[in-house]
């Protein structure tokens, strides 16, 4: 029998199982947030369902003691790996004072946490790409060997900031990894009406860096590509563009209804490629996971989510007297 893929990559059984645990946590947290939204308790959520494998595979390839990430709004899985807790996510969802991302100032999905080296993000897409490149410039400037990872969607690669940021990274061969989560749609606009190139990876050739397309439904494939890119970055060999082809299992956001623009077949097909299911099968096949283990895992996760929800729901909003704080340094 050939060696299992994860072992070939140098991932222990335990680490691999831990990947899955994060995927389940991200999925169930996301589902809970959607429920809370439907129950009228949270005005907005933007879901990452179907993109967990990519986000968590990528996160596992980082050196979390020093690397920086500039995530995008679907990156629940990634920020969890980076150290954000379910409680912090829920505090953010409910816009409570204790929310470490924004103190209740930003909509759900707008991450930022300096202590965990999560760079604060905004809503206009792709602005984080030059920021990540700026962090990479700082690494080179200060001769440090941390790596910066930024992520964005396929549609967002059409923004000028993607082009300008990556060109700079290429000219200066900076230690930055750009991970495009290609779910083949941007709100309602499908890939072929959105992106003129045959895929996203090929855009790397405009920037003098390798461009790698991977199956984003497989966290191990993403991990592998990320590890290579991470090595390159650390060794001063410059930036990498990775395209992970993923599924968007839910609507664009809680404000969207994807039946307006996607057929039932398309949605069913997408569901058939659910990364959590396929990775679960992999783990079972390789005897890393049993039904009992999973039941236990889910129990622990749900407890965490329940506690997080309860805590965050009860937590106070920021006081209105704080509204003028921190426009400038105080």
């Amino acid at each position: 029998m050939t060696k299992a893929y994860h072992l070939k990559l140098g991932l222990s059984d335990e680490e691999t199982l831990n990947m899955y645990r994060y995927m389940v946590l991200a999925r169930r947290l996301d589902q809970r947030m959607l429920l809370l939204n439907r129950a009228g308790k949270a005005p907005f959520i933007v879901s990452g369902q179907g993109q967990e494998a990519t986000q968590i595979g990528a996160g596992f390839a980082l050196d979390l003691t020093q690397d920086y990430i500039a995530p995008y709004y679907r990156d629940l899985g990634l920020v969890l790996v980076a150290g954000m807790t379910a409680k912090e996510v829920m505090l953010h969802l409910f816009a409570k004072a204790e929310d470490p991302n924004s103190g209740g100032r930003q909509m759900a999905g707008h991450y930022g946490h300096k202590e965990k080296r999560i760079i604060t993000g905004s809503s206009p897409v792709a602005t984080q790409v030059p920021h990540a490149v700026g962090f990479a410039l700082a690494a080179k400037y200060q001769k440090k060997d941390f790596v910066t990872l930024t992520t964005l969607g396929d549609g967002s690669t059409n923004q000028g900031d993607f082009h300008e940021g990556l060109n700079f990274a290429g000219v200066h061969q900076l230690p930055v990894i750009t991970l495009v989560q290609n779910n083949k749609i941007a709100i309602s606009v499908p890939f072929d009406k959105q992106v003129a190139s045959k895929n996203i990876a090929i855009r790397a050739s405009s920037y003098g860096m390798p461009g790698i397309e991977v199956d984003g439904n497989n966290p191990l494939e993403v991990y592998e590509a990320m590890k290579t890119a991470h090595e390159r970055a650390k060794n001063g060999e410059g930036p990498t563009l990775i395209e992970a082809v993923v599924e968007r299992l839910s609507a664009h956001s809680s404000d969207d209804n994807q039946n307006q623009y996607r057929t039932e077949e398309e949605l069913a097909e997408s569901k058939g490629r659910d990364c959590n299911l396929s990775f679960r099968n992999y783990l079972i096949e390789h005897e890393l996971l049993t039904e009992e283990m999973e039941t236990e895992m889910i129990k622990v996760i749900d407890k965490e989510i329940n506690e997080a929800t309860q805590y965050a729901e009860k937590a106070p909003y920021p006081h209105i007297d704080t509204i003028n704080d921190y426009v400038y340094e105080m």
């Binding site: 930003q106 206009p124 941007a186 623009y261 003028n324």
Partner: protein
């Protein structure tokens, strides 16, 4: 006549102009099959097809730039920016290009583009789905900026904008979309760009404002009338370039002026309105020119109590009017 809300009025203005003029087309993110994230282009894709209702890639500078090119050729693009907050990547195309094309070519070329953008708060939109962005563009000769306050006005103004031979930024208040309804005539009509409109005559205090704040002020007026506080209300409608004469007349009418905007105070549209009054009506004024505006913080936070704290409300307007009336 038929009852329409602000959003339907906008859709029907586009529908009628698309029907009337083969050169009119709609261009923006998700305007096609989805009908726009606010459904402003609802059904237009089914009716006019993908040639005339074009889903754009996610690239605002490209959307505006391509629309400018098409407009210079002679088409009449209606470009939709999904949220006004996302107009910022297109600022260079709007200010360096659209605004200056006629002037720089000494009238050889022109640019009949309409850019629609939903703006404003009170919709749980937080920092990046709530902003009022008109002030960013209100120092750029060559541009016209229109902000309708009612369904009737929205329809007539959008038609006027599409037919205008110069670039028009058309800001639509998101909260107004479904909040405000009224009877709209079936016949074709336009409302001229560049003219402020008296929306209520009164004698004690003049309120000058635009957008959703007009609606909010009208609610307050109704209430205060019962107490014999009589308010004169001017709706600026076109916030750039301003209707100077209309402003001067309205200010002189009562000598007590309250200016309102949902935008951050400093550097907003109402600053210019105040300057016009201070230059032209000084000796008619019985009280300092008062301004009521959003807070000078980057934009309204997400947390409900903070959003409320930021937003203009009927209570805040009422209090400000009373203060002036008693001055």
């Amino acid at each position: 006549m038929s009852e329409m809300n602000y959003l339907q009025a906008i859709t029907s203005a586009m529908d009628e102009e698309l029907e009337k003029d083969e050169n009119v087309f709609v261009f923006g993110e998700d305007v096609g099959a989805k009908g726009g994230v606010f459904r402003a282009t609802d059904n237009l894709y089914d009716k006019y097809g993908e040639r005339r209702i074009i889903d754009a890639p996610l690239a605002e500078s490209g959307i505006v730039g391509v629309a400018i090119g098409a407009a210079m050729y002679g088409l009449r693009p209606i470009a939709e920016i999904q949220f006004a907050d996302f107009i910022l990547p297109a600022v260079n195309q709007i200010i360096s290009e659209a605004a200056k094309i006629r002037y720089r070519s000494n009238n050889d070329w022109n640019c009949p583009i309409t850019i629609r953008a939903p703006y404003g708060g009170g919709v749980n939109g937080a920092l990046y789905h709530s902003q009022s962005l008109e002030a960013v563009f209100s120092n750029q000769p060559g541009l016209k900026i229109v902000v309708p306050s009612s369904p009737y006005d929205a329809k007539g103004l959008l038609k006027a904008s599409i037919r205008d031979n110069d670039p028009v930024l058309f800001f639509e208040h998101k909260r107004a979309y479904r909040l405000i309804s009224e009877e709209i005539p079936k016949e074709d009509y336009i409302i001229p760009i560049g003219e402020a409109m008296v929306k209520h005559t009164g004698t004690d205090v003049t309120v000058i404002t635009y957008g959703l704040c007009v609606y909010q002020t009208l609610q307050v007026i109704e209430k205060l009338e019962k107490e014999d506080i009589s308010v004169h209300l001017l709706d600026l409608i076109t916030v750039y370039p301003l209707d100077k004469e209309g402003i001067i007349q309205a200010a002189n009418k009562t000598g007590k002026v309250l200016l309102i905007t949902e935008d951050n105070l400093e550097g907003s549209i109402i600053s210019e309105v105040s300057a016009i009054i201070a230059e032209n009506c000084l000796f008619e004024l019985d009280a300092p020119i008062k301004r009521l505006a959003g807070l000078d913080v980057p934009s309204m936070p997400y947390a409900a109590p903070l959003e409320k704290e930021f937003m203009i409300s009927e209570d805040k307007i009422e209090e400000a009017v009373r203060e002036l009336a008693e001055f």
